[in-house]
């Protein structure tokens, strides 16, 4: 039990911090925060797929599938938005299931590019078919998330802070699911596939089925993230899901590191803060890609295992210092 306490306290402190956070930020930072939370789900779901050792370049298109599906379902059929979001995510899962048949015949680099091609075909179809996808301009006037009234107060979700809380809850629940999957027998099998796929297959693991399962689950949560995006922005278009945002997802995940659950999340949080807040504050608008590229190169050269590899080091330093102090028994929990 003594081991559990600091963890619980830490989680509680994190929750309080996340609830207070938006009120410390400026209006535009609140907007950045909303998309940051949604992107946390994008990278965390991406990691589930990477557990099996396969890297996809179609993940952002899956985000788009969820966004388009949820937008169309709610807009064309008047389905209640919270329900359409789940349906949108499910559509992304189904699309992933169908794509599993051709794609998981491939491995490694072939899968990487194969997933890109499959995603790009879907994306070009959104562009090509103006009905129902709206063509190059995409969809507009997507219904927003319905207001919620509790007692006297009404929460309207066009407001960034309110939508942030909504996204926070959805993403937190999704993260719990993703974490449980990873720690389950299934998750362990994914790991086994990654490191020893021939061996795993020889003891009866159906590699295709495992990869398919990971791909479908990852796409489901990616689709959910897309649905959040669609109903917040009320507009989506094919360019939002092209290869450029996909490259950013790769960057976030790899700079963060994929060995731990929190690695990709660390990556997206830190890089978003640097790109959207620090660099904009510095007033280097046009030179932002230059700085971001340099950061990327430096981090891969000097932190090859990702930002996550710093965490145990910092933790170690902290422990050592507490020991030197000698007389602060609950030091760790206090800080957390």
């Amino acid at each position: 039990m003594p081991n559990r306490l600091p963890l619980l306290l830490g989680a509680a402190a994190l929750a309080v911090a996340l609830i207070l956070l938006p009120h410390q930020l400026s209006f535009s930072q609140q907007e950045v925060l909303v998309f940051l939370v949604i992107n946390v789900l994008v990278v965390a779901s991406y990691r589930l797929l990477t557990l099996t050792g396969e890297w996809s370049l179609g993940h952002v298109v899956m985000v788009g599938v969820g966004a388009y599906a949820s937008a169309l379902i709610s807009k064309q059929f008047g389905v209640w938005v919270p329900l359409s979001m789940v349906l949108g995510a499910a559509v992304a899962g189904v699309v992933a299931f169908i794509l599993s048949f051709p794609l998981f015949r491939m491995k490694g680099f072939y899968f990487l590019i194969g997933s890109f091609a499959a995603g790009e075909v879907i994306r070009l179809c959104w562009k090509k078919f103006r009905y129902p996808f709206g063509g190059p301009k995409g969809l507009k006037s997507i219904p927003g998330f319905p207001d919620i009234t509790i007692g006297e107060t009404t929460f309207a979700f066009w407001n960034a802070v309110n939508f942030y809380y909504l996204a926070l809850i959805v993403v937190a629940v999704a993260l719990v699911f993703l974490y449980r999957i990873e720690k389950s027998r299934l998750g362990l099998t994914f790991h086994a596939l990654h490191w020893q796929d021939k061996l795993a297959e020889s003891v009866g693991v159906n590699a295709w089925r495992m990869r398919m399962t990971a791909f479908v689950a990852a796409s489901f949560f990616a689709g959910l993230a897309g649905a959040l995006q669609a109903h917040y922005l009320t507009t989506i278009n094919p360019t939002m899901f092209d290869v450029e945002p996909m490259v950013y997802v790769l960057i976030w995940v790899i700079v963060g590191g994929t060995a731990t659950f929190y690695g990709p999340i660390l990556g997206v949080v830190i890089l978003t803060v640097i790109n959207e807040i620090v660099l904009r504050e510095l007033g280097v608008d046009q030179a932002r890609p230059l700085f971001l590229g340099a950061i990327l190169i430096l981090s891969i050269l000097f932190l090859p295992k990702g930002l996550e590899s710093l965490v145990p080091k910092i933790g170690g330093l902290w422990k050592r210092r507490n020991k030197d102090d000698g007389n602060s028994p609950g030091g760790e929990t206090e800080k957390a």
């Binding site: 209006f27 535009s28 907007e31 709206g134 301009k137 006037s141 922005l233 030179a287």
Partner: protein
């Protein structure tokens, strides 16, 4: 320092010498430095400054810098007897809707701007939402952003693509031998409504379009097959629609190399002198388009409201050689209109300025007095429409041949345009 970075050559050389970071920071922070201090009115510039669409934003910001310097040097704008300086605050939206939303929030709530200028398109829907809630006045270069639900959004300069009818009308009047046409365009928010407009204009002028409009993808780099396909029907005129400069140039070059001898009409011919270099003066001679050089004498006529067009062009060319294009002056011309509205209202508050601008249903457009119009096409009278110049290349130089009235064309042929817009799915009630 700022003087140094206005000259692009120096900028580049210094940059290449290895002062990359310093140069980048200095170059990008110029707008902040050169604008006036103190009790100034802030105007938001929310457009793409990086990425693939940057060419539609950045050159406009340069034009606004010149505009602000000149206005401030002359004492600023007169608001109810008080002189106020004008300052631009820019936010790079990367042509991404989510960043446009963040930018609009920042400009309105943190920078306290009184007016926001945008390119529009993909980035507009979230900003319209915010503008409707806050009452912020927003301008766009793309009138296809207008719907009945955008009361605070105005298209006060470029009523793209409607003015393209003037070029076709002029062509039919002056070259009655032209009987057949073909059209190509990139498949996007600019290309499609423009194709509908040209189809209507050709129909109204009695010119037959002999093959389906050819749409090419934004990522196309090889235009040989496109031109081969266009020329296969031996048209009298090839219409390049609102193809971007990066497409117009290779298309013209291919037409030249594949031996095309007919007429060419286009919405724009940015950097046409480069087209001449790549082809020949004889080949480009007679090309019809819609965007004059601002050193054109015809712009000094009294009905033109753009302030000192010839000087503006010279100053721009001096600071940013090779960057002049339609967007270079358009944002600045919108500022002229905004200024007139604010001075008339005696206030810089968005709703006051909007009311003053639209008072009487007419406004001072860059090319002359014009009417607030658009009900039939956009569902709202928030587009400023009047005369538009028809420009023809003569002797290797763009010349304004005539200012033609868009409303006059519309009164005669409006139904044809609505028919084609509807068929293309570009009417406001179809744009969902």
């Amino acid at each position: 320092m700022s003087e140094l970075f206005y000259k692009k050559g120096l900028n580049r050389r210094r940059f290449l010498q290895g002062t990359a970071v310093g140069a980048a920071m200095a170059a990008t922070s110029v707008p902040r430095k050169t604008f006036a201090q103190g009790e100034s009115v802030k105007i938001g510039f929310l457009a793409p400054l990086t990425g693939e669409v940057a060419a539609w934003g950045l050159p406009g910001l340069y034009g606004c810098e010149i505009w602000a310097e000149w206005v401030n040097a002359a004492g600023g704008i007169d608001i109810g007897g008080e002189k106020r300086m004008v300052e631009f605050v820019s936010y790079d939206n990367e042509y991404d809707p989510s960043k446009a939303r963040a930018g609009a929030q920042k400009l309105i709530n943190e920078d306290n701007v009184k007016f926001i200028m945008m390119l529009g398109g993909d980035t507009m829907p979230p900003v319209v939402d915010i503008s409707n809630r806050s009452g912020m006045l927003v301008s766009t270069l793309l009138p296809s952003d207008l719907t009945p639900d955008t009361p605070n959004l105005i298209a006060p300069c470029e009523v793209h693509p409607i003015y393209n009818v003037t070029g076709v009308e002029w062509l039919a009047e002056n070259h009655p031998d032209v009987k057949t046409a073909v059209i190509c365009a990139q498949d996007d928010a600019l290309g499609r409504p423009s194709v509908a407009t040209y189809l209507a204009a050709f129909e109204a002028a009695g010119i037959e379009v002999i093959s389906d409009p050819l749409f090419f993808d934004y990522s196309t780099t090889d235009f040989a097959p496109v031109m081969t396909s266009l020329m296969s029907n031996n048209p009298d005129v090839i219409c390049l629609d609102t193809s971007y400069a990066d497409f117009v140039h290779p298309l013209m070059e291919q037409a030249y190399l594949q031996g095309y001898e007919g007429k060419i009409i286009s919405c724009t011919a940015d950097f046409y002198e480069q087209i001449i270099e790549k082809t020949s003066q004889e080949f480009v001679e007679g090309m019809i388009f819609q965007f004059p050089d601002f050193d054109d004498e015809a712009l000094n006529q009294s009905q033109v409201n753009f302030q000192n067009p010839n000087d503006f062009y010279a100053e721009y060319a001096k600071r940013w050689p090779g960057e002049w294009g339609a967007v270079s002056w358009e944002y600045a011309s919108i500022m002229d209109l905004w200024r007139a509205g604010a001075e008339k209202a005696g206030s810089v508050e968005p709703q006051d300025v909007l009311a003053a601008m639209k008072e009487g249903g007419t406004g001072l457009h860059a090319f002359g007095e014009a009417q607030w119009w658009g009900e039939d096409l956009f569902g709202i009278n928030n587009a400023l429409v009047g005369d538009w110049p028809v420009v023809v290349i003569e002797g290797g130089k763009a010349k304004i041949k005539e200012f033609k009235s868009i409303p006059a064309w519309w009164d005669k042929h409006g139904d044809i345009l609505v028919k084609h817009m509807d068929a293309m799915g570009e009417m406001y009630y179809q744009r969902t």
